[in-house]
Symmetry: C2
Subunit: 138 residues, 2 copies
DNA sequence: CTGCATCCGATCGGATACTG
DNA sequence: CAGTATCCGATCGGATGCAG
């Protein structure tokens, strides 16, 4: 993936990413609610449609359905169970591999208290909470 | 930040993030080109307007200016030098703290070859390359 | 060289209502 | 319960031109 070539007597290393992975990631996960949906599927036992809807205040049914489709099409999640009355979603391997990104992002976000800065105004996600009450142990 | 309360005889831990950090981060960095601009400032010696423009094929002047403003207003970057003929941008501490996120994101993106999947179609960033030829050592 | 102003088509996502 | 269909205002970002 790297190539060397002389450049004014110096070593030049040129990396060329055919499809730049960062923006490509953000293209899917950067959409509104997407990361949140992924997290909630990852962490909750409530991987069913209305449950996900409940733990994500402010997100509409339509957006949830869209995000589930996006995430499924891109291989982040899959249907673990599908009866005639409900569907249960779960992470794929790829989806699981995103979690480290998520954690560093949370770490960063927490450190800098994103969302409470003066210039932030009204972030589009204001009021969205992350409810992990489902994490109760038996 | 956490609260315990009884719930059907089990322990319930409820975390409530007043402003959810993930989406808040993405609100700034998730916009098109934003992450890329931040990276190029971080890694290149070419922190000047047209230089950034050159190493980011496909991005328009207007968008670069917008992203620079966004990133500056949110404290990711600042002007290191401003003469009447040019400006040099550099990362702030906050901007530097984003790099770990970036690295995990690159790691993930590389593993899954984002952008080259069948269902990806035409990612919005197609053709954007990450040129680090400026990393030549003296 | 480093931006800002304007225009404009494309896309996004919220509200609401409907369906198997 | 788990979505789909339709509408619509808001926003985004690309193109182009102008300015300090």
């Amino acid at each position: 993936m790297g190539a060397k070539s002389p450049h004014r007597g110096r070593i030049v290393i040129k990396l060329n990413f055919p499809a730049y992975p960062v923006q490509a990631s953000l293209g899917v996960l950067g959409r509104k609610w997407a990361f949140l949906v992924l997290m909630n599927i990852a962490l909750s036992r409530a991987q069913r449609f209305n449950a996900l809807l409940r733990v994500t205040p402010g997100m509409s049914k339509r957006i949830l359905a869209m995000r589930l489709n996006d995430l499924e099409r891109h291989g982040f999640i899959c249907r673990a169970e599908r009866t005639r009355s409900f569907t249960r979603w779960q992470l794929t391997q790829k989806g699981t591999d995103v979690l480290p990104v998520l954690l560093t992002l949370i770490h960063f976000g927490s450190k800098w208290r994103l969302g409470s800065e003066p210039s932030e105004g009204q972030p589009s996600n204001i009021g969205s909470t992350f409810d992990v009450s489902f994490l109760r142990r038996p």
